[in-house]
């Protein structure tokens, strides 16, 4: 703290700092968030106090942590004759708060920045980068197909698509939430008995599950492949599916 004050004094005499503004305090000055403001600062010799943290304030808070070079650099920045300080100085070896971005730095062309930003957006929208391509096999069919699970927004849509692909089967009724009610054992058994085929999937753990046991998005994230199997065979899956479902709940 002492070092800090001394520093501020030295600088102050050179640059007519408004000391009230630059007075050290551990609390947040004027309620301005430290983290959010980052290091975007005005040159302290400028008379404008526009609510941003004064440069020397940031100096003081970080002096303990900074190396000698960085202190020198800060001096340099303060010496700047009012030239627009577009950048803060951030040489804090400890992880600093999120910095305000400097114009044109790093020197990546805006063309490239935009493209990467667009890529990021579209992948964020779909919840994952890339598509969720999974192989679909149907018992008795001679070939495999592939579907991109990201193309569908619900089990119903998937069901329709699969029905088109493998026109010989229909899936059972998935209930109002679009999910199988595993809790109700008898309902489940009805479902499996009434359909010729049921879709099952292999999840991240390698287990074969009945499609429809988890919310749609979770299914998309964990499904590795699909298998449309005969209802009678699927009954074997049901108890395991119920157990897993219960353990999740």
């Amino acid at each position: 703290m002492e070092v800090g004050r001394k520093m501020a004094n030295m600088l102050g005499t050179e640059h007519d700092l408004n000391f009230k503004e630059t007075e050290l305090c551990l609390g947040l000055p004027g309620g301005i968030a430290v983290v959010a403001a980052g290091n975007e600062t005005e040159s302290s010799s400028s008379p404008k106090i526009n609510g941003k943290r004064g440069f020397s304030e940031t100096v003081d808070l970080k002096l303990n942590l900074q190396s000698k070079e960085s202190t020198m650099d800060l001096n340099k920045n303060l010496d700047d004759n009012g030239s627009k300080e577009k950048s803060g100085s951030a040489k804090d070896p400890a992880k600093p708060p999120a910095k305000a971005q400097v114009v044109g730095w790093p020197p990546v062309r805006s063309y490239r920045k935009n493209i990467m930003a667009n890529q990021k957006n579209s992948s964020e929208e779909s919840g994952n980068s890339g598509a969720a391509l999974v192989k679909v096999s149907m018992d008795g069919a001679p070939y495999l197909r592939k579907v991109d699970l990201k193309m569908y927004k619900s089990y119903q849509e998937l069901s329709d698509a699969l029905a088109k692909m493998f026109s010989s089967f229909t899936m059972g009724n998935y209930g109002p939430q679009g999910m199988i009610d595993f809790m109700n054992e008898s309902k489940l058994m009805d479902l499996l008995n009434s359909s010729d085929y049921v879709p099952s999937y292999e999840d991240k753990d390698g287990d074969w599950m009945l499609v429809g046991d988890v919310p749609w998005q979770m299914f998309v994230d964990s499904c590795k492949r699909l298998r449309i199997m005969k209802g009678s065979e699927a009954i074997g899956l049901a108890p395991r599916a119920m157990e897993k479902c219960k353990s999740r709940a």
């Binding site: 650099d73 340099k76 730095w105 063309y111 990467m116 991109d148």
Partner: protein
């Protein structure tokens, strides 16, 4: 220049040089255009011979040297220069250029300074192609090729090129803007001899015109069509038909609106391609789900001449194995828009033994770079771009990757490397392992960041580069740097022509070292460094030898810059204000100065003051 008064409009042709020479002889000599004595016969012969010989001189530096020998050589060189390169469009006026060089077939022009790419300059600063287009329409009706970089080109300019130059063959626009798809439509429809249309990293506005359909029917001469930067939908059927009727097509780079299924169709049509930009490399939304996927592997396998592969704009990594068949022949691979991991890269890069140019994102991490180093022994150029260009503390690539590359790729000539951390040791290692380095651009994204292992500035690393890499002509520095680094550069960077500096140095001495020490310096761009008027003065002896000097957010004052402007009349000293600066501030936000034969330009916008 008297010989220009009777400038002939004849197309340049070797067969006609005798008759041209005769005509030109009448116009030679001093005076204001009066017919002069006919040169004596021996002189004529000598000039004929000279002209024949100079036709073979292609390097512009050699030509510049030749033109200085004597008046006769100056004249003949001017007559035989068919490719005109102007590195700063404001250094000379269109009129002066066309007056001196009368038989130009190809024009290469550069406009805005490079830092304009990073939003350091307000738009509409200048570099308009229009006056050049008009001047050339009068002077070089036989013009075949135009290559522009960082110029502002309008739709009208494109129309001019297509309409007024009947034999126009090649248009290359790099980092240009100001035009749209409607300009492209007019251009391609009227330019019947077109061989090359390359739009590279340019901004093309979407006027919702289907320009691909505007290519004339019938067999096309197209050899190269590059439009990967065009951010609008294109008519695929028209493109498909165009490719089908372009038997000479060798280079095709698609934009991200072309799906992988569509790519397949085009590849099947054009297996003779040598350069391919794949477009999105993912299926389109409307592709029939579960439809039989085309055999992408076979399509790539059929392209036996493919040496350069790029694109992958919205890559779905599952499709990457399709390119395996071409990897062994690739000399250039651009993954710089593909956010792939090391594991996704490895199976590909391990097959790319002949690779010389590799652009990639740092998503591959140090591990990916190690894989590159293990296989690509012939690598000449490497560029590693950041997926997330922000200043955080952690980054996927570091000194580990750089070290690996330096050990594996000994023939490296050019490197651009973005990272969050770097050590002097790794940079020194590269300086020793890669003595052929011509371009070294290291961007440590955290400003003023020292060596994380030693805590030292990065001076020694960059010092080693300039000391050990004797062929170095281009250098970009970053990280924590004191004046010492610039002392090294000044003392050892004897061939350095381009230097980029940001957030570096302690005092004016740094800039002095460079200006006094680097005799070949031509392009110097500096931002946010503590260099003031005294430093600026130390370069007075050298500024006429430079193409330009850029200094933004340094410590220059208006009167300091004025001094320079007064001392050097052939220098144009521009002070560029950003939006919130006052006109009469003594402080200079941005200085951009360049040598010019023309004095202050007349098209400067309001935010530019020419001192």
């Amino acid at each position: 220049m008297s010989e220009d008064d009777e400038r002939q409009q004849s197309p340049p042709s070797d067969l006609e040089f005798v008759s041209n020479k005769a005509r030109n002889c009448n116009a030679t000599g001093s005076g204001s255009g009066h017919p002069e004595f006919q040169s004596t016969y021996p002189d004529q012969v000598l000039e004929n011979v000279l002209e024949n010989v100079l036709h073979f001189l292609t390097s512009r530096r050699d030509r510049n040297a030749a033109s200085l020998v004597c008046k006769s050589w100056y004249r003949v060189e001017a007559l035989t220069r068919s490719e005109l390169f102007i590195g700063n469009c404001y250094a000379v006026s269109p009129g002066r250029a066309t007056a001196r060089f009368t038989r130009v077939k190809a024009l290469h022009l550069k406009g805005k300074p490079r830092f304009a790419d990073f939003n350091l300059m307000p738009p509409d600063w200048g570099a308009h192609f229009n006056p050049w287009a008009l001047a050339m329409a009068k002077a070089y009706p036989w013009l075949e090729k135009v290559h522009l970089k960082r110029m502002s080109v309008t739709d009208d300019d494109l129309a001019t090129l297509a309409e007024l130059f009947l034999g126009f063959k090649e248009l290359v626009l790099v980092c240009c803007d100001g035009f749209g798809t409607s300009g492209l439509a007019i251009f391609v429809s009227k330019c019947r001899q077109l061989k090359v249309l390359d739009l590279i990293e340019s901004e093309v506005s979407d006027d919702e015109t289907d320009w691909i359909s505007c290519f004339p029917e019938g067999e096309s001469n197209l050899e190269s069509l590059i439009f990967d930067c065009v951010e609008c939908h294109i008519n695929f059927e028209a493109l498909d038909r165009l490719v089908a009727r372009s038997p000479s097509l060798k280079k095709l780079k698609l934009n991200r609106y072309v799906s992988i299924g569509q790519l397949y169709c085009l590849m099947v049509r054009a297996p003779q391609l040598t350069h391919l930009g794949t477009g999105s490399f993912s299926p389109s939304d409307i592709a029939g789900q579960g439809d039989q996927e085309p055999d992408y592997v076979a399509a790539f396998a059929a392209c036996r001449s493919l040496v350069c592969l790029s694109g992958f704009r919205e890559i779905i990594p599952d499709y990457l194995p399709a390119i395996y068949p071409v990897c062994a022949n690739l000399t250039s691979l651009n993954f710089s828009y593909a956010n792939i991991t090391a594991d996704q890269l490895k199976p590909i890069i391990s097959k790319c033994h002949k690779l010389q140019t590799f652009w990639v994102l740092d998503s591959i991490c140090d591990e990916g770079l190690q894989a590159v180093a293990a296989t690509c022994k012939d690598l000449r150029e490497l560029r590693v771009f950041p997926v997330d260009p922000r200043e955080d503390n952690d980054g996927p690539v570091s000194e580990v990757g750089l070290q690996a590359i330096s050990e594996g790729c000994r023939k490296l000539q050019s490197i651009l490397y973005f990272c969050q951390r770097m050590t002097n040791a790794a940079v020194i290692a590269m300086s020793k392992n890669c003595p052929d380095l011509v371009v070294f651009r290291l961007c440590i994204m955290g400003r003023h960041r020292p060596d994380p292992v030693t805590g030292e500035p990065m001076d020694d690393g960059f010092g080693a580069i300039v000391m050990n890499c004797k062929k170095l002509t281009r250098l970009a520095v970053s990280g924590l740097l004191t004046d010492k680094a610039f002392d090294y550069i000044g003392r050892h960077g004897k061939l350095v022509r381009t230097l980029s500096v940001a957030f570096a140095g302690d005092s004016d001495m740094a800039l002095k070292y460079v200006l006094e020490g680097c005799p070949q310096l031509q392009k110097l761009e500096i931002r946010d460094s503590p260099f003031g008027d005294a430093a600026l003065r130390s370069g007075l002896h050298h500024y006429y030898n430079m193409r330009f000097l850029w200094m933004s957010s340094c410590r220059l004052t208006r009167h300091g810059c004025q001094e320079i402007a007064r001392a050097m009349p052939r220098l144009v000293v521009e002070v560029i204000r950003s939006a919130d600066e006052e006109e009469m501030d003594d402080v200079v936000g941005t200085l951009y100065m360049y040598r010019s034969l023309e004095g202050p330009r007349t098209d400067a916008p309001k935010f530019v003051t020419i001192l």
